[in-house]
Symmetry: C2
Subunit: 483 residues, 2 copies
């Protein structure tokens, strides 16, 4: 049945001419049961899928989800552009980089394409506010978009070609991540650095119109460069990993384009990528239903700039605040009922820095009540040390309920006039059941870019993100994101 | 006992001033039994060793072995500089590289330091003629020297500083490789791409005079970027791996120098490098007897440009040829007695290309008799198709003897005048028991660079390699290797 669906997809996507050649000389290898069980020909099948997928054949919902992922990427990357890690990248790489090829989002400096891909990839992840595929928590968009934008300033690339390549890179990255989960992460690897190198090579290779052989080599070279371990969490090295995935993917495609050779089976070989990277492999996840099952559809976007376990409490607090137009002065106490992880991961009662605030349910609920949001600005050092915030957070109690799932929670607010308000959240906003709306993505974007770009310019970039697939030049878009 | 030796080493190497501070504030962590068993503090211990080792404290034999490794590196890298893989690297990376920072050995093109490190690293391994540490077959020198030479054109570095850093990088690379052997390679990794990234970061970081904290970060960032799987063997991807190790190591040190942070325990963490990269870890191999056990002492250099299993047969043939001044016309037959691997790995009877010639014991013995050597020139396409070579190789018989170890073999030559000459080889030249002499390294160097550089220039570069530790500028040396 899957094979039939694939053939239908193929015939549709390849068009009449190509489909007519299928019987004698198939353009795409069929992932038969052997491939799905053992991974046979996986590298070749992925190369063919990358080369043959067309944007106009993607269901509109999938096209839209790709755009949503891109909107979120551009917002968070511009939003992080003044982070010390970006300043360090710029200072470190300036002496070894060509200077006039590609843009750094939100900045004025220009770098060669490889280093620009790296720096934007770092930026995409610093705030930990990028897209998340909830099966493995892989953040796929950053490295893919960063590699593509850098390449789009080297060659004329239309917005539609760009979005097709972006979809491809994200889809392959998520599938690779699912295929090795959870063993790959369990032994220490950071999925947002290991898998997107391959996705980025596929995406850039597609823009280059590589031959099938070249694409196989590009995937092989990219697979040879996995990046990052979980011990990096808490340091800049965490963002280094997707950054390096972006430049490694672009690097691989550039070499393959000139016929730098690799093996023909690097991903699935017994002495290749999947075997060395994980104790278990699920090739059904990687290769099954290519073109009919779209993993990008399950991408999610954080509404709040903090650990995801606090999101139900923030969601409930903001809803009550808005419904009853509450002011902080009215609050007697806020009781939060939460999954045990909320205390374990975010139980910091007296945070002293913005970063510590992200690990404090108390600070998060307080600023949610005061500002009605929990974006980057609510996690500045100043916000955390604000006496008004501190006074309110001391009125907050967190009560653990082991029966509550991580996505659920409840806020019970007692007012000074004696009223008691309750809000129970089954699935916090931003999750799969309650996804962030397009309007909320707009708000997140404008919030992140505020103070970095003039509001008019932010709005214009945002509008262009939404219509990216219609823009004549992805390179011009990249240039437009700078100051 | 080891600790005592280490303390003696420390006090000697750190000098009076530093040693006097040891009791209250030790400059180097002591790898106690916990570290040697579990790897505790491994990253920190390696960082401290890297920062505190001085060239003048290395035993003269070790200094000399480092120089021999460097001589071999420069020869093979210049020798490969016109290989198609290098042409492809240059064509691929020209559009994304700064152009006037660092040299490509044997060429006239210049690249930025990162890309130059990569290209020279690729070149160091293409001929598979680089140094080999026989425990894991790791080829350590190429990535280390390539990263260092590129950096030496950015900043003033003396020859002595260069050789100290080169020793360090090679020593750490071999120790890392030994520590994960053999499981790491068994599951698919290519040791010559995975370990030297860390060695190269340590070496460049030493030249940068990083602080201990920065060096720990540099090692963490480098550990985050292992490169390459064994499925690459037979493709350019095999040489890509040490090339990328060189640029990754330099990249890591550049970022760490500006305080881009990593974790403090990336190598030994349960969710870090060693655990993810191998099912077994031996921290005694990595950390034991630092400063008193020198793994670089066991580096070896191939005398012949082909698979190592044919070396005893070639060695025996050349010895008989030279002893009896034999001409090909005198040969009735040559019987080779050999380990079974000689037929399994190099049993090709009618090779058609130079590369196939490297996998032919018949061609190898024939050209050894005709030319008295088996260098790159003896494995050209022309040499393989030469009628004189073909006529002689048809007189060669290979007889398997399962009792012969791989390093041993015998040649029995019957002459047209009826005489029978025999030579038995217990340990082929180039192995640990019968290392290549300095004079033979000279000959290999001049053979490899012939036709690429004028002979006078080759001799001058070679002389400078031997006295590298006395040269005022490693960067000037790098520049001198170009055309």
């Amino acid at each position: 049945m899957h094979i039939k669906q694939r053939r239908a997809f193929l015939q549709k996507s390849l068009g009449a001419l190509a489909a007519s050649t299928l019987p004698s000389s198939p353009l795409m290898a069929e992932p038969n049961s052997e491939s799905l069980n053992t991974g046979k020909d996986a590298t070749k099948i992925l190369a063919q899928y990358a080369l043959n997928t067309k944007y106009e054949d993607l269901p509109p919902k999938i096209q839209h989800e790709a755009i949503r992922s891109f909107v979120n990427y551009v917002g968070v990357t511009i939003g992080s552009c003044r982070h010390p890690a970006i300043d360090i990248c710029i200072a470190s790489l300036r002496p070894v980089s060509g200077s006039n090829q590609a843009s750094i989002l939100g900045r004025h400096e220009r770098f060669d394409a490889l280093n620009a891909a790296f720096i934007n990839g770092v930026g995409s992840h610093i705030l930990d506010f990028d897209d998340t595929h909830l099966v493995t928590n892989v953040h796929a968009s950053g490295p893919i978009a960063s590699a593509l934008l850098a390449y789009a300033e080297m060659k004329p690339i239309s917005g539609k070609e760009f979005m097709n390549a972006f979809y491809l890179g994200v889809e392959l990255t998520i599938r690779l991540s699912n295929a090795l989960a959870p063993d790959h992460a369990d032994i220490g690897w950071h999925v947002s650095g290991t898998h997107p190198t391959i996705g980025a090579a596929a995406a850039v290779g597609r823009l280059m119109r590589l031959t099938e052989q070249q694409m196989i080599w590009a995937l092989g070279l990219a697979a040879s460069q996995p990046v990052g371990f979980r011990d990096s969490f808490g340091s800049m090295n965490k963002s280094f990993n997707p950054g390096r995935a972006a430049s490694n993917g672009l690097f691989s495609a550039l070499l393959a384009q000139k016929n730098f050779t690799s093996s023909s089976q690097m991903i699935e070989s017994r002495i290749g990528w999947a075997n060395a990277m994980s104790t278990k492999r699920n090739y059904q996840e990687l290769l099954g239903d290519l073109g009919t099952r779209f993993e990008i559809a399950k991408n999610t976007y954080k509404p709040f700039a903090c650990g995801i376990v606090i999101h139900p409490a923030i969601d409930a607090t903001i809803q009550l605040r808005n419904q009853y137009k509450l002011q902080p002065e009215q609050i007697q106490s806020i009781l939060i009922k939460a999954n045990p992880y909320v205390v374990e991961l975010t139980g910091k009662k007296t945070p002293q820095t913005g970063l510590e605030g992200k690990f404090s349910a108390y600070h998060s609920v307080a600023i949610a009540m005061i500002d009605g949001r929990a974006g980057e600005k609510q996690y500045s050092d100043a916000a955390v040390l604000n006496p008004k915030t501190i006074a309110l957070r001391e009125k907050i109690i967190v009560e653990i309920d082991p029966n509550l799932p991580k996505k659920s929670g409840e806020a019970i607010i007692t007012l000074t006039d004696g009223r008691v308000l309750k809000k129970s959240i089954e699935s916090a906003i931003g999750g799969l059941e309650n996804p962030l709306s397009d309007a909320a993505l707009d708000e997140k974007f404008l919030d992140l870019t505020e103070g970095i770009l003039p509001r008019d310019k932010s709005k214009s970039i945002l509008a262009n993100c939404w219509k990216m697939s219609e823009l004549p030049s992805a390179g011009s878009f990249a240039k437009s994101t700078t100051v």
